[in-house]
Symmetry: C2
Subunit: 369 residues, 2 copies
């Protein structure tokens, strides 16, 4: 998910230009390759609430034997494509724009596209999925395969290199746990946004820290180092001013950007900050536990091995108080053989690998039908 | 506060028309009474996030000997005047409109106005107060006394008939505790809005109930009767649809309107709903405790007597599971002689009485200076 960090951009190596990849194209729909300017491609899109990333990969021979590094043809970044945030028209326009840019950068064109997978936040229900599928069908010719997934699914695929198995935990501005069993069942936990209690998310952590400042100020809570740290970070002179500050702009990412201040206070020994982070760790681990148990990823006796892909700014702090590490320790209490994975590629690449895998599977099905 | 309920309107008796009140006007600025069409008046305004109420009272002789019932000249209602919600221009226009309507209904006019007090949500800092004072100074001629208070202060005055002493607890869509000591010190607790953890508010209660539904659905929490009650109330068929529902419209009052469903579930024995309400009671009582202790309203040994004015839809449920009663029981554990008051008049009348009292005090000061 493009909005999983705290304003940090991803530094993914991109082989821009016109890499010529001689794929071993075993697909029967090869006639769809309408011109010889470049290889057939798949597109992966990661549509978040702050930005949308599109990557372009050449069609490769075997999804189980991927080259390392992946031969990325191009990467493009645009604005928000979450229709809950910006409305349908703006979301759709953003998608068209970022796809066009990625194709141009890759030296490819619309007719070379074989499949597209969009991982997007705000897909919480089949009707959401259908709506966005329709946008993609409007953009592409009918022979192009289009897929829409919750952005957490693309994040999972970024850790498993396209395989839909295991559980992903995303904790950035928001948080969600999402999993797939080997027989294709899926389950999710959390991911409802701020109103629906995602307390392990960056927003959740920071909102609790702001609340602790207010409580310390009005006499309901103990004094905390969070007061001076947060006021300094926001350039405010008194806790009373926090109320106006929260009303000024209702963007959740702006609140979540305070997570590093909370981590600093916990590292400096502030008990309230420490408790907030400890609760967040528990919440995040419990959302993974709920998914793993529903899908029985851990086997009957909880000792089975399965991937847990860890994604998002909250889990990537790399600080002395390391939320991600603490979450892994907590998860391992329940499932000692859970295999934590920190993805080496971004979710948009996960989405592209999903597009590739889905396409290969459909081609297999067609071959045998 | 006009937005303290769950969409119920107030049934305050209004003597509309042109009551002739023969006041014993002891004020030296009597020359300000520029025409003889009616009595000099004071205006009280209650500006909330859902509506703004203006009432018109005649100047009376003695703030310590008020007639019962009060001789209200008129009452008018208009839209939102919280500039955090609608912006400054719209808020200011709403105020002008509702004042004009109240004066017209009372058969009075702008030149009869001696003092105006506006109790308004969103006044959290002296700069907020100054901004709104300036709007009133723009609207009225310079000899009219204008006062701006947090809406909780008007609510307190509605219970104490204009006297600023004691603590008010407001729990509607939002929640706040606000108090004054007899020597004029003031203090507040909570009132920061949803992001800053007002968990005893209607919004807080309902958001926790929605979260409980999501947690029961995804496996993080126990099953609860809240699921079927809330889905039915919202016309939704599955908990997954709640996420889209919360994103559709970010108004907090819409969330808070679910409080009666939570109360029903608690009454029917649902443990999760019961726990949510019990936590809300504790939060509300703790906000009163924080104010009372900071102002030492309870004396040195916590046995002093002081008024606790209880206002807002959350405290007025009149149900078997009575949040207001439970809050009183909790407060009395700390302060056995706290005197709960349920106001008989609305906060706009409280604001008018404040305007009257402030005016009389200024007149006293001028007389002796």
């Amino acid at each position: 998910m493009a909005d999983r960090g705290f304003g940090h951009s991803h530094s993914i190596p991109v082989n821009s230009g016109t890499n010529e990849v001689e794929g071993n194209f075993s697909l029967e729909e090869d006639e769809a390759r309408q011109n010889g300017d470049g290889p057939n491609v798949v597109l992966g899109l990661d549509g978040g609430t702050t930005s949308t990333v599109c990557v372009c990969l050449p069609l490769m021979a075997d999804p189980n034997d991927l080259p390392d590094p992946l031969p990325l043809l191009a990467r493009a970044v645009s604005g928000c494509s979450n229709y809950n945030s910006v409305g349908e028209n703006a979301a759709k326009e953003t998608l068209e724009q970022v796809i066009t840019e990625a194709l141009t950068k890759s030296g490819s064109n619309w007719s070379a596209v074989r499949a597209v997978c969009l991982g997007v936040s705000g897909v919480n229900h089949p009707t959401d999925q259908e709506k966005i599928l329709k946008w993609l069908r409007d953009i592409f010719p009918s022979h192009v395969k289009v897929y829409v997934q919750n952005d957490a699914v693309a994040a999972l695929a970024s850790g498993t290199m396209g395989k839909l198995h295991g559980c992903v935990l995303v904790a950035g501005t928001g948080s969600i746990a999402y999993g797939f069993s080997e027989d294709g069942k899926e389950a999710r936990a959390a991911g409802g946004g701020p109103i629906l209690g995602d307390w392990g998310s960056g927003y959740g952590i920071a909102a609790q820290a702001l609340t602790a400042v207010i409580r310390a100020n009005d006499g309901r809570g103990s004094q905390t180092m969070l007061t001076s740290r947060i006021l300094k970070a926001l350039g405010l002179s008194s806790p009373d001013e926090l109320i106006g500050w929260t009303y000024e702009d209702r963007s959740w990412a702006r609140i979540a950007a305070l997570v590093p201040e909370v981590v600093s206070c916990a590292e400096a020994g502030d008990q309230i900050a420490h408790n907030i982070l400890t609760e967040a760790v528990k919440e995040l681990a419990l959302s993974v536990k709920a998914v793993v148990e529903r899908l029985r990823l851990c086997g009957e006796d909880s000792t089975g091995s399965f991937p847990v892909v860890m994604v998002g700014g909250v889990l990537e702090t790399k600080r002395a108080w390391d939320i991600g590490n603490e979450v892994v320790i907590y998860i391992k209490k329940f499932f000692p053989n859970a295999q934590p994975i920190r993805p080496k590629v971004e979710p948009a690449v996960g989405a592209a690998l999903l597009a590739f895998n889905f396409l290969m599977k459909e081609s297999e099905v067609n071959k045998h039908s």
